[in-house]
Symmetry: C2
Subunit: 158 residues, 2 copies
DNA sequence: TATAAAACAGAATTTAATTCTGTTAAAACT
DNA sequence: AGTTTTAACAGAATTAAATTCTGTTTTATA
């Protein structure tokens, strides 16, 4: 079967789409010197295999009034068992990321809100409701120099 | 002039596009009960105003061999002046995020590599070359429960 | 080597993007 | 308030792209 090997054409497609999710098949086909139908076939396959997860538009957070970014470190009793807590945190829409990190049985959560008042409210109303949270340490971001989710896509030798 | 107010139609467009960057204009127009041309006009304007920053495809990092995620805290002499250092860090493609954080004159960097060996190599070859770095503390992510860049888009009263 | 499966090209068709024009609605100004 | 200007919109026309289909080539596999 070997249901999962990506070749260099797939990787080139991923690079193009990572740069611009709205690139047309025709355009990709030209760059790859292939027929549009062949490219489309591969894209569909990449979607099915979940190599491509979704297509998203990055919006300037400030333009929609979300000016505060913070990282919250959470000390927990639940440690590495991400049952309740993971689900509870993930459910909060202001929470962009939830990670379990090594050392100090901590979780790391990235949150974006309008301002500090809203962050405060969020923590009081949502975080405080989660029983397994023992304590939190919040780090406010003063300035963001780079923020993207692009992944390095390697080249395959053979 | 008032060159920058978004109305609720704009916000609805942003919500739709944030969910799926490849949604068609026709589809949006149906949902918004507007003509496709009118929707397109707004989208173009949102792009110009940089409310829409870009369209990107999220790729499963593991599927392209990027299995390690880490956060690196950097202590620096350059403190809040993000000249050299910000640029140097931002230039590294494995670096997804660079933030200046409050307290402890620290920077926070999100990095994604294939494995810990590659992270090590990266830090030796790239980070170590940056003279303003005094020390680093690296936190490895063991598991990611949620990871998205969707922003909460509010509703405007009037 | 024979066979099966996957990848591909190219044409045909369907669907969508984009442009254009005229109209309406909303601001801006006097 | 009335006029003018500007922005937003709808709908048709046009251009471009997505998608489907079919037959061929390539690749992998027995």
């Amino acid at each position: 079967m070997m249901e999962f090997a990506l070749d260099n054409i797939d990787l080139r497609i991923l690079r193009l789409m990572q740069e611009n999710a709205r690139i047309s098949n025709v355009d990709m086909a030209k760059q790859l010197e292939m027929a549009p139908s062949a490219v489309l076939e591969r894209v569909k396959k990449l979607e099915q295999k979940q190599v491509i997860q979704h297509y998203t538009t990055s919006i300037n957070p400030a333009a929609v009034g979300q000016r505060l970014l913070a990282f919250v470190f959470i000390r927990t009793s639940e440690a590495f068992d991400r049952g309740e807590m993971g689900a509870a945190l993930a459910k909060i829409e202001e929470v962009q990321e939830v990670h379990i990190i090594a050392g100090e049985d901590c979780w790391l959560v990235k949150v974006r809100t309008a301002d500090s008042a809203e962050l405060m409210a969020l923590m009081r109303n949502k975080f405080a409701k989660i029983p397994t949270i023992q304590s939190t340490k919040t780090t406010i971001v003063l300035e963001t120099i780079k923020e993207q989710q692009k992944v390095v896509i390697p080249i395959i030798k053979k």
